[in-house]
Symmetry: C2
Subunit: 391 residues, 2 copies
Amino acid sequence: MNNFTFYSPTEFVFGKGTETQTGTLAREHGATKVMIVYGGGSAVRSGLLDRVKLSLRQAGMPFCEMGGVQPNPTDGKVYEGIALCRNEKADMLLAVGGGSVIDTAKAIAAGVPYEGDFWDFFAGKATVEKALKVAVVLTIPAAGSEGSGNSVITKADTLQKLSLRTPKLLRPAFSIMNPELTFTLPPFQTACGVTDMMAHIMERYFTNTTGVEVADRMCEGVLMSIIEEAPKAMAAPNDYDARANLMWAGMVAHNGTCGTGCEEDWASHFLEHEVSALYGVTHGAGLAVIFPAWMKWMAAHHPRKIAQYAHRVWHVAPSADSRADALQGITCLQNFLRQLGMPLDLKELGVPHPDIDLLAHNLHLNKGELVGNYVRLTEADSREIYHIAMG
Amino acid sequence: MNNFTFYSPTEFVFGKGTETQTGTLAREHGATKVMIVYGGGSAVRSGLLDRVKLSLRQAGMPFCEMGGVQPNPTDGKVYEGIALCRNEKADMLLAVGGGSVIDTAKAIAAGVPYEGDFWDFFAGKATVEKALKVAVVLTIPAAGSEGSGNSVITKADTLQKLSLRTPKLLRPAFSIMNPELTFTLPPFQTACGVTDMMAHIMERYFTNTTGVEVADRMCEGVLMSIIEEAPKAMAAPNDYDARANLMWAGMVAHNGTCGTGCEEDWASHFLEHEVSALYGVTHGAGLAVIFPAWMKWMAAHHPRKIAQYAHRVWHVAPSADSRADALQGITCLQNFLRQLGMPLDLKELGVPHPDIDLLAHNLHLNKGELVGNYVRLTEADSREIYHIAMG
């Protein structure tokens, strides 16, 4: 087991009707004025935004607001938010939405007290040393941003999609998680969220670090619970317990609970980011194609942990052939993703003629000569994985 | 799934040599003067206390100290600590030790800014509204106090052993967890710690709350990892990874990670506390006797979750007879505890002639007419469980 720090100071308030506590929680966490950040019209149409505002008013908490954050959020909204927040002198960013909204709120929180350009943090030119508080009312379980200190923003003019990871400052002060708010998520978005949270766990689980039995068993347990609950939520969108389990799984998948003490991999995420960047696919759907392709390549080159995954998560009977066991586990995963309606190859993803040389070239240009940790991939390896993803 | 709050703001710094970070962490968490609290001589003899003091000096952090905290800590040391801390104007209590030391530090932290008697908090006469910061260098994985907001103190004159549970204020600011510090733990203490952490998970796991698949799978996973790692640590006390897994398991067992959204039980702990109070047995060893007895009674009256435990944790093949499955699981647990050297009945625990009427009477006098939640036990039920514990 490697040395590690686990720090997840967020107060998670989970369950039915919990958004009515927004005002009280903002006050308890020291806000004097809140800036609400939200996305498209769904938070308005559903009445959620009104309930949040009512709660703030009842707690005597002043607020301002900025809507219009889009999926794959860009720097434009961050600059707009920083200007508004400074002008309004708000001291807490309250994200009402999913990962894109939360990530925008985090970027604003870091940008407001910073004299330079907030993009410096994402470009690695500056470190966040001060930030306003961030809080969340979550509506989409997927990205896990409600429990992490991370933010992903795209620079609109160059289409650079970069991530900022802070160990402490951008972790939300509180996150309100009401599973009822996810009843209206469309099946495709539900399935993409499920794929994303499973990927967050697997990026940590596929590791060469040994002696991590607690981490392994927790990863396997959360994966098994997602596999149990996701089909229920797909079949009956108002199944509270299924939605609740998925919502909590999405958080523990990414706040550090899973994978403590493990070297993490993240190659699949990076391989997918290039596909998203070039072809504009949805991240979760892209992962449904890329992650199994990465696993198939690993089954051939380094099956150990993929076979353990097959045995323990999918209950594949252990044989003498760990590669065969690994492949069986991958088939189980793909059958599951198929059941959720996810694409299984690049063609189904809407990319019938990918420029694999360009994808691999961009990946290694952005991320260096070797990518990932479970096996450190060369550009030639990455090309092979993209080829596998063609089906 | 029930509504819940998960709040674990502690910064856990885990791994080899991490105690050298004590001074830096105390500074980062805002201390201006630290009061070290420790127990008997082992922290002195091992050189740990010197390393901690060196780290504080290197960070320019002033400190004072109080040693001599005993197992089953009493109010006397708390009063002594409060007086010393006020006199020295320390603003962070640094516990170097296990549960007893941490619980004493927490009681001092609550008592210093309070004008009345600190015992008011434990007697339920006052609520902690302000507390000094608490930090931990952990030496015994068992009680989970390094991640919880709880403290258990015994009043020496009346022998009342009462617990204080705070949702927020007494959770440690940081906990340093170096598994190497546990290499010298004697086998009996290691085994008692293992039993205690398993019990902390099972008190949460044996619930009637349905729709808690993530919680179930995480509990089962951590239990399986403890069952895998504990015999390794018993066989080879310097097995770093085994010690590391046990140390982390003891934390997640009790900081709220396990059992989110579940109604918890705790009858076994209460049944054991009466045995400890009357006969002075070690808590972990008492649990090794009482918890399986409670489970056997449950197998007869309400086997559902006990059978699931048998199937998933001990891999008992599911049959049509859930009571028989449950009993098989309990046998597996008892074989495991036997392997660790734990007692299996009250006689082996050193209580050959327990006064069962008095134990049950005291239990229900202290805890009310009905105890626990999985099945709410009457005094007659509790007597039956104590009888089962006789073997």
